[in-house]
Symmetry: C2
Subunit: 488 residues, 2 copies
């Protein structure tokens, strides 16, 4: 099986597609730009969802559900928002089909035209803030800390499985606050929650910062982002959290009476991550033999394979280990299928990125040991049966940490500083990764840099140092370095 | 608060709407026919989802995700299916908006017309079976046991919150099998899973049976159903499971090679329950003071209210009970809000249907007792503090059982037998509920009965007795009784 994967060094993009396909994660559907998330891919997404949902609830949020459709006029209410989202979207214009004339099949019933077109939500600020108007009257109704798990549609012309699809799954938090300070703190809190999830669960280090004006969410006053680095040296925006000011409250007339009985517009945030995280996860750790998953997000963490095939003694030991690991909350599969040979199974489980494989052979068993292999390094060890459970429990933690450490080292090796234009271009072309450089703070310069190099400002880092400098392109003064990269 | 609810005896339909609104479960949105599921309603739906998902996985199913959109031509492939689903649906015809001429705002870009219209899925058999064609080649690929949690849209003209909305949330299982027998067994298994969920978790007794031809799912060979009875004597179809024969396999050319290397079409099932269950849950148990929830589906199972307000001694006892209940896996809220008076809180938690309320007052505490009230019967008891945790643990089980027993008694009292037409009509008009009667087995008679009485055949019960009889309308011979009712 492994042979069928294109090597990263040969064609990174094909390598990615091969893994998505051969590990059974997703595929293109009959509908342009829409993907089918296959059972194994969805099982990983469920692990992502469940952990994020827990973290959202621990920080005081609750879930709700708002309509799939947005009246066209709602999109126009917030000036910047409409520019960003009202362009490429799926428009519902009719609500009925009918039998056509002979041979035509079914056709759209021209009588059933909607008075106002409905847009399939590309994001839900407008419909949600239109709803919040009735929910918020007084400071006692605030804060409102609501999240939604949903599908959204953005009519992308060039799609890639998980990374950019017309329909994708995501969560979108939409919170309402009495003060500007509280809303900013909420947006920053969610940036930290995303960063913690990325680093602790996806084993994917991220830079935290805010976006330049050009890269801000359409309708936001400030966009906070987490930025990861893929193995090919390209950056990937993994999650964003927006401070929306009073923009949507003003657009939808959402006011409240404060404790002094004064009327004021409500302050807002929104924040989201999507099935794009699946793409980030795949590209962070996988290798030329297939997917590599961090143990915390692996639907099956351990697989036991009898060598060459099951015998009563092997099954007895397999079940004992299975029960022991189960008691430790570890998900495990015992593969007793006799139609497939061990070598085939090994390759299959490597492709699927199962973190730990336990091989149980008769000859090893006579010596009281089993063979424990880790997916990330391919290292194998013979471990006494009675120690195997505690060994595996520790090994899973070790793998989780090792994946993070390796990714962190790679990321840190790929943050470079450029002090002039030639150096900047050379770094992007020859080394890739993040490039820290001075920029004059204008959108014009940023646009020009993007046109010349395809690199964008990924973020103005949260820990940016105040430092006098000269913009790499314009030569104008700069107060600090920002992070550039070519990005997904 | 409770006063604000219309009494059931006065206007059952307004009573229902009042509860949905005042318990904060859902509301109508700005988009015709689409609802907003509010946080408390969504929290109950999450409990429903989580339990069902567990039961699906225990019976060998996995989750996946298929596209929101279905090409128009797909709907035409299965003749019965298109009749049932291609009529009232949301049709996407364009993929772009643009700035209109001055003053027009944004308008649909006429250039961006789709070659083939896309239908927002009303159900996913067609897109899924189109996908299964590539997934199934051999008997080794079978069975395929897949479920999807998703939103669907059916353009309903008359909508009611949860019971009938244009967009709703649901799960849809779609399985593929090598033999007819296995597919029928799967469809029947899922009927039993739904019945077990309804009875054990929703505390809602159901009749299990199959549908008449008229009431079958469009495209099914057999539809298995679970039918519940609401407090107003109307039936509610709570879940259906369909044996689809080879209809969709033939429509989408899904064949496999069996063990003898012979090619054959694949056998199919599909099965689903939706947010309609929320409506069934509300109407099964609630009363004129608000929602009544079975403990297994209550997001908060116990609330503690200090009387009249918190003191250190009260808080200490409250936290002790909270910890004790938490150790038993019970979800609990301690309400220390001093701005609201206990009477107000009592009414609020009754409205929300929280199964158990613990009142802690200083005078009671001096005697070492707390007041424990159950929502279903309103019964209150003084219980020694040290016994309160075990008392509540048992009480929650008792309430779960009591709700089921009460609903079962009501349901059993409302299954009547009719032996002639006048008796049939009188039972429907005067008593309501299920009416067991002979029917000649024809769709014509069934349609005529529906026209005359608004009653439909809810099911041909799984445990139907073979019994010679005379059809109540046509007088033609019948082999057994079927269950009629007016239904939601």
């Amino acid at each position: 099986m492994a042979k069928e994967i294109t090597e990263r060094s040969e064609d990174y993009s094909r390598w990615y597609n091969d893994i998505v396909k051969k590990a059974g994660l997703a595929e293109h559907s009959a509908v342009r730009g829409c993907m089918v998330i296959k059972p194994y891919g969805y099982a990983i997404w469920e692990k992502i969802q469940s952990q994020l949902d827990k973290m959202f609830k621990e920080t005081g949020h609750v879930n709700a559900y708002f309509p799939l459709f947005i009246p066209k006029s709602f999109l126009s209410r917030e000036a910047a928002h409409v520019e960003g989202f009202a362009k490429e979207c799926a428009v519902v214009t009719h609500y009925r089909l009918m039998n056509g004339k002979d041979g035509e099949g079914i056709v759209v019933d021209p009588e059933a035209k909607l008075e106002e077109e409905l847009i399939v939500r590309p994001t839900s600020e407008t419909i949600i803030w239109n709803t919040y108007r009735d929910w918020i009257n007084s400071y006692r109704d605030l804060p409102l800390l609501i999240n939604q798990w949903a599908n959204v549609v953005r009519w992308e012309m060039r799609t890639r499985l998980f990374l950019r699809t017309a329909e994708f799954l995501w969560q979108e938090g939409h919170t309402a606050h009495a003060t500007e300070k509280e809303a900013i703190e909420e947006a920053q809190l969610m940036q930290r929650v995303y960063a913690e999830f990325a680093e602790q669960h996806m084993a994917m280090p991220v830079l935290q910062g805010s976006k330049s004006v050009n890269e801000r969410f359409a309708g936001a006053v400030e966009t906070y982002t987490i930025e990861a680095l893929m193995q090919d040296g390209k950056a990937l925006q993994a999650g964003t959290s927006h401070f929306l000011g009073q923009n949507f409250a003003k657009a939808f007339d959402v006011k409240f009476l404060n404790e002094k009985n004064q009327e004021s517009y409500v302050w807002a945030t929104s924040w989201g991550v999507s099935t794009r995280l699946m793409g980030a996860l795949i590209m962070s750790h996988s290798d030329d033999d297939g997917l590599v998953l961090p143990p915390r997000l692996a639907p099956t963490q351990v697989v036991i394979v009898p060598i060459p095939k099951p015998s009563p003694a092997i099954i007895e030991v397999a079940n004992r280990i299975k029960d022991g690991l189960g008691e430790n909350g570890i998900s495990i599969k015992v593969d007793l299928d006799e139609k497939k040979r061990p070598g085939f199974k090994f390759a299959e489980y490597e492709m699927m990125g199962i973190p730990v494989r336990i091989g149980i052979g008769m000859r090893d068993l006579e010596k009281g040991v089993v063979e424990i292999a880790r997916r990330d390094t391919k290292e194998k060890k013979l471990i006494p049966v009675e120690d195997s459970v505690s060994y595996v429990v520790n090994l899973l933690e070790e793998i989780q940490q090792a994946l993070f450490d390796r990714a962190l080292q790679f990321r840190n090796e790929h943050i470079s500083s450029a002090d002039d234009w030639d150096q900047f271009v050379a770094l992007l072309d020859d080394k890739g990764g993040f490039v820290s450089a001075h920029w004059d703070g204008t959108g014009e310069t940023e646009t020009r840099i993007k046109e010349l190099t395809k690199a964008t400002i990924r973020c103005i880092p949260n820990d940016q140092k105040q430092e006098e400098g000269i913009c790499i392109l314009s030569g104008n003064p700069s107060q600090g370095r920002v992070i550039f990269a070519r990005a997904y």
